[in-house]
Subunit: 337 residues, 2 copies
């Protein structure tokens, strides 16, 4: 293949340029939404590795698609969709900080945050459909795009529903994580990219078999970072999952593994937000560690990452695509915390 | 024309059957979202005249499209989109009641309401794209659908931004109403329908010239009902606009026309929610009447309805479509309050 193969940094630059161009054009189309568009542009430029666009791009390339502005635009739409997801999630989770900045609803109020999320959602599919693919190709890929949105909303719903409960199994916690984050961050972007290159069903299934375990590993890393990360790599307070009381695998495994007064203290305090002192947060972190739950999550992450590595080894894709997908897999599960 | 021409009631029945069929199918696709889908189904079946689907349907017929399940499904998607709009609006406006029932966020909490709205939004376009039109036709019509969503969000944003302000001109209030409700309820549904029948630009422009003033008249009626209606026709407390302090044309005109202590009292009390006694609400209603603002709004409604009637008279459409569009115009602006 003689196709140009952008590095992750080059791809991010290209995606960001398309996002800027697209958002700039929307000021004229709906001038009354200028403040909302401004805020979305600020959020988009506030950081992020553009992993979702990168998986979409390389799903496309793996299926034989050639580098060009069409796939960069379609991939960029996933970043706008992600902006929707984080703005609305931050409202539901009552999060005050994101990527080191106050969240949108804290900055501008509930109504503004709600509308900024709504707008990002509808701008995302406007960008997707204006990417430049033939209508029949766009609509086939949109089937996966549409299902991805349904799943992320369903996952967030389960998350909200479980929030007040102390009884959640590791299986349930993993299921929520897969819906909320894994599929939406990795498997579906890969599939959407492949469908935009008119991939046969077999390749789509192969990419799913790679993306599914990788997505789960990605979410497990996020959970580990949310309790054991450092602030600079996280962009949000490192104790946020503990203070917000995330019902993730770490919580479920710790609650299962602890007994007696340790368990009581753990489930009672996990999620007590500002009522927790820093020492109490550290105590909860120690309980996750000491119970063996941290090791459970790390082993699971390792197993899923290996499963993904086996799947990519068996995929019938060209050398460039395989190298790029391996690099992305590493980026998504890099356990440096 | 020998085409079957459903009455508004027959069309509503057909639209409702497609909505039920579509939502039933989604339980299997995303079982984890079942509670959200249930709530959306409940809201959809709670009432409404299906005016937006009817305008879409008759825009299609006016452009020469033939009766069939495809256009009924595409039209039904506008009802799901409307469900999104009302659920999120009710959160932003802090409304407790809608169509005689507690609003979603009051019933199930903020997170649930937010997600139910998000889900209705993405289900709406899933239904739109699965209606059965050729991809290129669907995507052309989706251009108008997409702009409609941007406009309704922009309108709601202006509404939220103006909410705390007493300084809003009638022109601004009308502009918000056009964005928030008029275009989205009437003009865009007509245009979307016409585009689904592959209408030429000239007919699209003609339908817009009918739908634009009609949409404004429709919103003015809604404003009049929101202050002077009776509960049974409104499905929400008849004093809701007054208690919530809507910055609509009635408010802007009353604030302009009153002077001295009347004006002070009016702008001070409008929007004081539960702090207002029933007598005080009646006093505000009397001020709107006495200032002449009610007559301003009624005259404006009349003028817009007449403008729409002139536009339909000049439209090159067949007899059945003209009769149906006239009946819909009457339905949308019927001033019986």
């Amino acid at each position: 293949m003689s196709d140009f193969s952008p590095s992750l940094t080059e791809l991010r630059t290209a995606v960001d340029a398309e996002l800027r161009r697209f958002l700039d054009g929307k000021f004229d189309a709906v001038p009354d939404a200028a403040e909302l568009i401004d805020e979305i542009a600020r959020l988009v430029s506030a950081g992020g590795k553009r992993l979702r666009p990168a998986f979409c791009y390389w799903g496309f390339r793996a299926a034989g698609g050639r580098h060009g502005p069409e796939i960069v635009r379609a991939a960029a739409s996933l970043e706008l969709l992600h902006t929707f997801a984080i703005v609305h999630d931050d409202i539901m989770d009552g999060s005050d900080e994101r990527r080191g900045e106050p969240t949108v609803h804290v900055r501008h109020g509930l109504g503004f945050g709600l509308l900024a999320g709504d707008l990002a959602l509808v701008l995302a599919d406007a960008l997707f459909f204006s990417a430049g693919f033939p209508p029949s190709i766009s609509l086939r890929a949109f089937g996966a795009y549409s299902l991805m949105r349904l799943e992320v909303i369903a996952g967030q719903h389960l998350d909200v529903r479980h929030a007040p409960s102390t009884e959640i199994s590791e299986q349930e916690a993993r299921h929520i994580a897969v819906l909320k984050s894994g599929r939406y961050s990795i498997q579906k972007p890969l599939v959407i990219g492949a469908l935009l290159a008119d991939a046969p069903d077999e390749l789509v299934a192969g990419l799913s078999a790679f993306g599914d375990p990788l997505g789960e590993a990605f979410q497990l890393r996020d959970d580990l970072l949310g309790s054991f990360g450092n602030r600079s790599s996280l962009g949000k307070p490192v104790d946020s999952d503990i203070r917000e009381g995330k019902r993730n695998v770490l919580f479920a495994a710790t609650a299962r593994l602890l007994t007696g007064s340790d368990r009581e203290l753990f489930v009672d305090r996990w999620g007590r937000r500002e009522a927790l002192s820093d020492d109490e947060v550290q105590q909860l972190r120690d309980l996750v560690e000491r119970s063996g739950a941290r090791a459970v999550a790390e082993d699971m992450l390792q197993a899923r990452a290996e499963e993904a590595a086996r799947a990519i080894a068996g995929l019938d894709v060209d050398h460039q695509a395989r190298v790029a997908l391996r690099a992305l897999a590493h980026e998504a599960t890099d356990r440096e915390i």
